[in-house]
Structures are given as C-alpha cells and as structure tokens.
C-alpha cells in the first residue's frame, strides 16, 4: 500500500529525535526492562560527554545489578568489591588528582556493607562524586531486604514484611552524609518521569562541577525502582515508588554547594 508506514520510512534523519549517547557502548543493557539503572547511566554519560571529559574520567562500579556498568559506559572503569567503591575511588583520586572520579553504587552496597567507606570518604571530603541508586532492595541477589527497605515491605528475606522493631528503620544515609562537613552537595532525585530525569541530569552536572572546583564530595541519590525485586510491572513500580518511597525519601536538594 502507498501510505503504509514502514520502518525504513520512519528511520530517516529528519525524524530522529533521540539517539544513543556516544559515551554509551552498543552493548544491550543487562537490566530488567523498566528498571531505572539504564536511565541513570545515560544521564551520567551525557554529562561527561557535554563536559568533554571522556579521556579524564575513571568510574568505579562495585557489585550490585550495575556490576557490569563497564560493559555499557565507554570510559575507563574499575570494578570494585561489594561496598568498597569509595575506598577504591579514594585511591584513584589521591594518586590521579586531575581525573574526574565517580562511583556508582546500590543501596545494599553503599548503606550496608560499605557504610564505613561511604561515611569516611564523605568525611574526608574526597573530591569525587558518588551516584547512589536506592531501590530499597538487593536487586542483583534476588530481592532480599536492604537497609533502605521500607517498614512492612516484603522481600525474600522479610517475607512477612520488614519488621522495623527487630531490623531497624530504613537508613537515611543521604541525610547522614549531608551532616558531614566533607560533603559539598547532597541531593536526592529520581529518573521515573522525563521531568525528573532532567532534574537528575542537572544534579549530576552540579556534582561534577563541585568535583572540578575541588569543593569536596558530591553525593547524588537516585531513588529508583526495582520492578523485578518488588514483583511489579514497571508502571506499577513507579507508582508504588511515588506513593511509598518518596514520603520516606523525599526528593530535592539536602545540601547545596557554597
């Protein structure tokens, strides 16, 4: 048929409104469809590209679903042991002070096993950026309880809901690091709507700017979904996140750079 729509007709340069960020590789993402990790990756890479800093950037990804981040980000990367990315990044930045150094960590990684490294890197005011993806659960290992799991939330290790009386309240580590004089910029964002994605990108820009100006550690939390671990559709998970996560983890800047 004359007027039929074909792929060839659509894929014309004049119709191109969105394309892969050059600093993302061509490897297909390993994340579950609907997961926020991929969007968070892309925003970081867009900013590095706009800063023209590919050759100056070293990233660190510890274990968690984003352990394979190095497959997707076209920059030099180090894989780190569970929880130790801030120490690894400290080693890099102190010996390569002119490099742009960041870590990309999950909530289990950053707020459970790696709490010590996180707090001390923040307290020393390491000139690095920490991107902290908080999905309230251990995604990679199959949906176990994290320190950020909400009270009564069901996970595979809290099958009847998190019992805050015995396991504690969710750890607001972002508020905690904001209290430390070594942090320059502390913010909490999300990537579940286009408007939030734009805000997150701005936050990432600001974080890298703090590092370039040697202002101390810039900490960007991204509250995100784990639709697989939460056992929801992507849409439901985003709705659940808005209704349940955001009241506990309110979005916005917690500490702004001086």
């Amino acid at each position: 048929m004359e007027n039929s729509i074909s792929k060839e007709k659509i894929c014309q340069p004049e119709n191109l409104v969105y394309s892969k960020t050059p600093l993302m590789t061509c490897n297909p993402l390993s994340y579950c469809p609907g997961c926020g990790h991929g969007t968070a990756h892309r925003m970081i890479m867009e900013v590095i590209e706009e800063l023209n800093m590919q050759a100056e950037t070293i990233g660190v990804a510890p274990v968690g679903c984003s352990v394979l981040a190095y497959d997707f980000l076209d920059i030099d990367m180090q894989q780190a042991a569970h929880g130790r990315a801030p120490a690894v990044a400290t080693g890099i930045k102190r010996l390569m002070p002119n490099k742009l150094v960041f870590t990309y960590q999950g909530d289990g990684d950053l707020a459970a096993i790696g709490t010590g490294e996180t707090l001390h890197a923040c307290n020393r005011g390491e000139n690095i950026c920490i991107f902290f993806v908080n999905n309230g659960i251990y995604g990679m290992t199959g949906g176990q309880m994290a320190p950020t799991t909400l009270p009564n939330m069901k996970t595979s290790t809290s099958p009847f809901g998190r019992d805050a009386a015995s396991t504690g309240q969710p750890l607001k580590i972002t508020e905690l690091v904001a209290m430390l004089p070594g942090t320059s910029y502390v913010t909490r964002q999300s990537v579940h709507t286009p408007a939030n994605v734009r805000k997150t990108k701005k936050a990432i820009e600001k974080a890298f700017q703090c590092q370039l100006e040697k202002k101390g550690l810039a900490f960007v939390e991204i509250v995100s979904n784990c639709n697989s671990g939460w056992k929801m559709t992507p849409l439901d998970s985003n709705k659940w996140m808005e209704e349940n996560m955001f009241p506990f983890f309110p979005l916005g800047d917690i500490k702004v750079p001086k």
Binding site: Q54, A55, E56, T57, I58, V60, V67, L68, Y70, L73, D74, I75, D76, M77, Q78, Q79, A80, A81, R84, A87, V88, A89, T90, G91, I92, R94, L95, M96, K99, G116, E117, H120
Partner: protein
Amino acid sequence: MKEIRLMKGNEAIAEGAIRAGCDGYFGYPITPQSEVLEYLMENRPEERTGMFVLQAESEIASIHMVYGGAACGKRVMTSSSSPGISLMQEGISFMAGTELPCLLLNVVRGGPGLGTIQPSQSDYFQAVKGGGHGDYKMIVLAPASVQEMYDFAKLGFELAFKYRIQVMILSDGAIGQMMEKVVLDEQLPRITDEEIKKKYPWATTGKTPDRERNIITSLDLDPVRQEKINIHLQEKFKKIAENEVRLEKLMCDDAEYLFVAYGSSARVCQKAMQLGRDKGIKVGLLRPITLFPFPYEEIKRLSSQVKGIQCVEMSAGQMIEDVKLGANGKVPVEHFGRLGGIIPAPDEVLNVLIKNFIKN
C-alpha cells in the same frame, strides 16, 4: 660514599619504599608495624618525591585504596600485622583476579585472634597458600634483617610490576622492631603519567581516542572464559616458580644435617649452626628468601646429601609442609617451633637437632 643509617625494620621498609619511587601508601595502625605509617607521616614523602600517604579508616579501606591506585598503574603499598592482613584478604583476592601489582607488608604477630603483639611466623599458610578465596598466589619475600626490609621494598615493586602480581613481604615483630645498620640507595624517580601510559597499557588512565576503554575487573560469568583466565593465572605462577626462587645457603657444602628456617628463625638457626660447628657437628642452614616460590629443588638436592632436616619456625609447623614436599621422603624432616610470640634460643634449637638426629 653510601649513606648508612641505624634503623628499625619498619622504618627501613618505609624509607625503602620512598626511595624506590613508591607513589602511594594507605594503612591503618596496628602493633608491631605502626612505625611504617608514623615514619612516612614524619618524613613528608609528599615533599620529597610527591609520594602520597593516607591513614585509612580500616585495613579493608586500605587495601581497596591500594586497588584503586594500582589499577591506575601506580606503585602503591600498604602494611599491617596479622589481624589487619586477615581483613584485607578479599581485597587481595580481587587484586589477584585483576592482576594488579602492589606491595604488601605483614609484620606478623602471634594469633589466633587478637593473640599477642609479640613476633610470630604463624601466618605462613595465609601468605603462601593464598589467604583469600580462589586459586591464586602472591610472591612472598621473607626478610631476615633490617637491610632486607629496606631492600625488599624496591625488589618487591620490581617483581610486582614484572609479573602484575601482589608481592607480600612476610616479616615478623622481631625484624620490624629491631634496629640494625642499613645501607641506603640513591632516590629513584617516581614514574610519570606518560610512562605509565606507555609501560602499562592496561591501566585506567582515562580513555583516549587511540585506544579501547580499559576495564579492571575480576568478574567473568562465562565458565569457559573464566577457566581461561584461571589457566592464564596458573601459567604466570608457574613461570614465577621457575624463575624467581631466592634462597641463602650457609655451610651446606659439607653438611650432614640441615636447618631450614626463614626470617627471625633463620637468624636463630644461624647462631645454632655456629654453636653446632663448634661442637664438631656438620650442620648447615638453608634460608628460603622467597616462600612462594619455594626452593623445593634445592631442598630436594640437599635431601640426598644430609641425614636429617630440622625445620625451625615460630609456628606449630607450617613451612615444614613445603620442606617435606621438597624432601619427598628421602630424609627425615622434623619440626621445632615456639608459639605465642616466643623466639626460640639458639642452644634450644641445636639441642632439638641433636636429639632428633644424632643421639638416636
């Protein structure tokens, strides 16, 4: 004229590292090795060579800071004593898996647990057989003097970068704390970032358009590829075993009996050997300097010459397993050790050798 100084073992290795062109040190205080960090802080290597020194929040953080720096091609080190080295094992295993060169110092104290701050050699298995998870080895150097503490900093970095491997200096509280005269070398220059890019193309120095991105990882979920990685590591360890054995032999040519001991115990055995020779007993000493690779061949050779091998260790008997592998049943091999931080006395050691091999 060479510069000579009276130094503690712990200070000597710190000075040795600075002069060998070390780029960074990360460590956490623990007796009996805190002098390493203290010496570095006091001597301001940042002003002397630009070497960076940081007191980390734990040994876990220290080893992962070392990882980050080493992955950038820098000469990085940490030091600790037994409990701290136990904490580092995951990080060391990650460095083995990623083939990152580094220098590690264990000034061993007695265990298990918090044990004692007195010297011991009870971490041999941990250092030589692989204390962390996975099939890996480190090069292990055993200094027996303050001079060797100094020398092994430079040697350690050379070997670490030659093979992309972790080099551990397995010392003990006695060698770390005692003072001896040390002959110092000239200051070597630190490596420049340009040299790193040329010499270590694997290092994460920032992806430039002329190369693919560099990835430092020990992860590969594909069993076929992971097996290949492991085979590659094993081949490297084999090459090291073939080429890097270091040992010292004293009075072995006519020996009928042999002491085998490393580090502080070797110093004790050297004295015991002299006491034995004074009594007309033909006893020699073999001192392994590398514990991995272990001098199996030399022990095998001497096993067809001597009537008995007396191992002396400040442990319940760890190195003796390797000595027995070398001797392979050709000659009786006996262990003598003191535990809990006690250093055996030379006459005590000689009497054991006499009782085990001569009086019977």
